[in-house]
C-alpha cells in the first residue's frame, strides 16, 4: 500500500473519523486531532513502519502533517 495512504489510515484510526487530510494540512491546528492523539499516532507509526522513535525526536512539528511525517520517515531511511 502507498505510504501516504498508510499514514492517512493511521490518522483515521487515531481520530476515529473517516477523514482525509491534505498532505500539508496541520493535523492539530485544523482540529483533526487533539494533543492527546499525538502519542497514539506516534505509537502507531512505530508499529506500522517497524521503527523506534526516540524521545529526542518527539517534536510535535515533525508529526504535524502527512508531509512532515513523510519527511521524518525519509530522514530515518
Amino acid at each position: 500500500m502507498d505510504r501516504r495512504l498508510q499514514l492517512v489510515n493511521l490518522i483515521r484510526q487515531v481520530a476515529k473519523k473517516d477523514i482525509t487530510p491534505a498532505a500539508d494540512e496541520s493535523l492539530f491546528d485544523s482540529g483533526l486531532l487533539d494533543s492527546f492523539a499525538l502519542p497514539d499516532l506516534v505509537s502507531l507509526i512505530e508499529q506500522k513502519f517497524a521503527i523506534k522513535i526516540p524521545d529526542s525526536d518527539l517534536n510535535p512539528r515533525k508529526f504535524d502533517s502527512v508531509e512532515r511525517i513523510e519527511e521524518y520517515l525519509d530522514s530515518r531511511g
Binding site: D34, S35, F36, L38, P39, D55, L58, N59, P60
Partner: protein, 310 residues
C-alpha cells in the same frame, strides 16, 4: 532509603467551578471536562500565600504523625509559584512550624517538585534524620495573568501537600527511586518573571506520555516487579487524560491510579502529595504491597518512587 511516616494537605476554601473558568476564556465547562477531567479547583484567598498554605499542610502532616516540629532535621519545600525570587518559602515555613534552626531548602521545581522532594528526602534521611517535604502552589496568581490563555487557565488550582520521611519507621518503606531531567525542553513549560505561563501542550503531553511509563518501569525493574503487581499508583495530577494514558501504556486499569483532579485541578508540585494524602487517609498502604509514586513537569523533570507497605 527511609520510611513514609505521614502525609498532610491543605486546600483553600474557595471553589472555582469549570463553568466559572469557562466564562473567562469563552469556552464551555463540558469542553474543559473533556480535555482535562477537571470539574472544579480551589483558589486561595487574597491573604493566603504559598507559605501559609505550606504551613497548613505541614501542620496537618505533623499532626497525623504525632511528632513535634522540633524533631525535624531538614525541611524541603517545593514551589514553582512562590511570591518572591528569594528567599523562597522554605525558611519561613520551617520557622512558622517551629523547626528551630534545622536547614530549610527550596526546590523551585514545578509539577515534579513533590516527588523530587520525597526522593531526595529518602536518600538524605539516614544522615539528616526526619525530613519534612512540603509542596505548595498558588497557581491562581499565575493563570490569571493577562492575556488569559485557554489551555492554561482551565487547568490549575491552588493547594499544598506534605510528607514526612523518617529514617527508622513509618507506614511504608521506600524501596527504589529514580529521577531524571532534560533541559532541552525548558522553554516548553516555563514561567518567566511577571509573565503568563508558557506551555507547549503538545510537547508536554508527548514527552510525559513516554517518560512517565518509562521511569515507572525503571523503578519496577530494579525491584523485579511488573506493573500488574502494583495495587496502587499515585501520580502528579496533571490531566485525567494523561493519567489514563499512562495506565494504558503500563497495561493496568486506570482505576489503579488514584485521582482527585476532578475536584482540585492541577495544583502543580502540590498535586502528588495532596493526592497521596487523600489516598493514604482513605485506604492506607496495603500491608506488604508495593505502591508507585510518579511525576513529570517543567524542566523537564520526571521520576518515580517505589514504596512497600509495612
Amino acid at each position: 532509603m527511609g520510611y513514609i511516616r505521614a502525609f498532610g494537605r491543605y486546600l483553600p476554601e474557595r471553589v472555582v467551578t469549570s463553568e466559572e473558568v469557562a466564562s473567562w476564556v469563552r469556552t464551555d465547562a463540558a469542553w474543559i471536562r473533556n480535555v482535562s477531567g477537571i470539574e472544579e479547583r480551589r483558589f486561595a484567598a487574597d491573604g493566603e500565600s504559598v507559605t501559609s498554605m505550606g504551613v497548613a499542610a505541614a501542620k496537618d502532616c505533623l499532626a497525623s504523625s504525632g511528632l513535634d516540629a522540633a524533631s525535624i532535621g531538614l525541611v524541603l519545600v517545593s514551589s514553582g509559584s512562590a511570591e518572591r525570587q528569594f528567599p523562597g518559602p522554605a525558611s519561613e515555613i520551617a520557622a512558622q512550624l517551629g523547626c528551630g534552626d534545622a536547614p530549610a531548602i527550596d526546590l523551585p521545581v514545578a509539577s515534579a517538585g513533590g516527588l523530587f522532594g520525597m526522593v531526595l528526602a529518602s536518600r538524605l534521611t539516614t544522615t539528616m534524620g526526619r525530613i519534612l517535604v512540603v509542596a505548595a502552589e498558588k497557581m491562581s496568581a499565575v493563570v490569571q495573568r493577562e492575556p488569559l490563555e485557554r489551555g492554561v487557565a482551565i487547568l490549575f488550582g491552588d493547594g499544598a501537600g506534605a510528607c514526612l520521611i523518617d529514617p527508622e519507621m513509618g507506614d511504608a518503606r521506600i524501596v527504589e527511586s529514580a529521577l531524571h531531567s532534560d533541559g532541552s525542553y525548558a522553554s516548553d513549560l516555563a514561567l518567566e518573571f511577571g509573565k503568563p505561563l508558557a506551555m507547549n501542550g503538545r510537547s508536554v503531553i508527548m514527552q510525559a506520555s513516554r517518560k512517565i511509563p518509562s521511569v515507572i518501569q525503571e523503578v519496577l525493574a530494579k525491584a523485579s516487579l511488573s506493573a500488574t503487581e502494583i495495587p496502587a499508583f499515585l501520580m502528579h495530577q496533571a490531566n485525567q487524560n494523561l493519567i489514563d494514558r499512562v495506565a494504558q501504556a503500563l497495561g493496568v486499569p486506570a482505576t489503579k491510579f488514584y485521582s482527585n483532579i476532578r475536584r482540585y485541578g492541577n495544583t502543580s508540585s502540590a498535586s502528588l502529595l495532596i493526592a497521596a494524602c487523600e489516598w493514604w487517609r482513605e485506604s492506607g498502604f496495603p500491608q506488604g504491597q508495593p505502591v508507585v509514586f510518579s511525576a513529570f513537569g517543567a524542566g523537564f523533570h520526571w521520576g518515580a518512587l517505589l514504596a512497600r507497605g509495612c
